[in-house]
Amino acid sequence: MTEKELFDLVILIGEGIVENGGEISRATETMEIVAAHYGIRDFKAFAIANGIFASALSADGTNYSCKITCVSLSPIRLSRVEALNGLSRSVADDRCTPEEAREQAVRICGMDSAGKWKSILAAGVGSACFCYLFAGGAADCAAAFFSGSAAYAFIKLVAPRFVPSNLSMQIIGAMIAAFMSCLLLGLGLGNSLNRVIIGSIFPMTPGVSLTNSIRNFLENDYLTGLIRLVDALVTAGCLACGVGLAMQLWNLIIQGAIL
């Protein structure tokens, strides 16, 4: 394998870890371990939540090479982080040639996530459980199950084909969840609108990225912390917009302005 291909392999591994929700420090460390093991000279990497900057010295020591990689902020996929972590370990233990490692890394970065229907069902169950934790009754939980699944069905089935931007996907998703909640309550399923709505949009709330961002701040990684913080705030704003719009719409329907 040429020097360039080795350098690309190392960055591919780091990119996979950052993109799928691994810690930034884990990504940098893993890249440095793999690079050191495959004999890339003087490898240094700087990673933030949406990019990796890496440089290395050529084998004869005359040139530096540098690569800038953009990483998209995408949903967390822990199975890939785990697989990449395992790969870096087998590299460090000498159980993997560079060719094998590249093959594995490419396979891992294309690995399928859980099936669509499975995640829709999981979102519904999660919504119902969290509605219960927010002191909802059995009927509230049932309503949260249906509206949470409906919102996630939109995100998983419809949005990838028709809605290009993340922002509008979140707004419409929250609208569907809130509108379904109003509808189910109107039909007599559930008692507290607030609890049903918060349960059904819970799978979309940015609680984990907010916590990760504060953790980054406390670990002195201010840049990544700021990126994730702003991302979390924008997401929360989108959800609030969506819910607000859906409730306005519902009120209009109730008052007979539309029908």
Binding site: T30, D93, S113, L133, F202, V208, L210
Partner: protein
């Protein structure tokens, strides 16, 4: 709160965390452990809130407990601890708080928005602190001979 209601709540936390583990695409064989981590966190939170009467202290203790739990599970299953940690903290994270902050801001209820925002910030700080405390415990406590990521190097 009665013991029976508490048991129901912990069960809901276990199932809910397991469901979110599916959404975060955790490998199927780890989902049960992720659920248990979430259950441990919520159990500590409920007990601590009952005896200490403070949601913040309870959150801190719960975060420490579940981060320790996920590190122990990481050693047991030979998987990165982040797999269990990210799922486990889902019961504690103030997803509702940040949403209410934005929602009240849109409605123009500024006082409620600020109150919710500060509350969210404090709870998030507690969780992050708890995780950092648990991660600063020595590796040898969890059965690693050396630091995990450089082992075998």
């Amino acid at each position: 709160m009665t013991v029976r209601m508490g048991a129901f709540q912990v069960a809901a936390a276990v199932i809910g965390t397991a469901a979110f583990a599916v959404l975060f695409d955790v490998p199927p064989k780890r989902i049960l452990f992720c659920g248990l981590t979430g259950g441990v966190g919520w159990l500590i939170y409920l007990v601590a809130r009952h005896y200490l009467q403070s949601a913040y202290t309870a959150t801190l203790l719960a975060a420490i407990g579940l981060a320790v739990c996920s590190r122990a599970l990481a050693t047991l299953c030979k998987a990165p601890s982040i797999v269990f940690l990210i799922c486990g903290i889902f019961t504690l994270v103030p997803g509702a708080g940040i949403y209410y902050t934005a929602y009240y801001m849109l409605l123009g209820k500024n006082a409620q928005s600020v109150a919710n925002g500060l509350d969210t910030l404090k709870i998030t700080l507690m969780i992050a602190l708890g995780i950092i405390i648990a991660y600063s415990l020595p590796h040898s406590l969890f059965g690693w001979k050396k630091s995990p990521r450089t082992s075998g190097k």
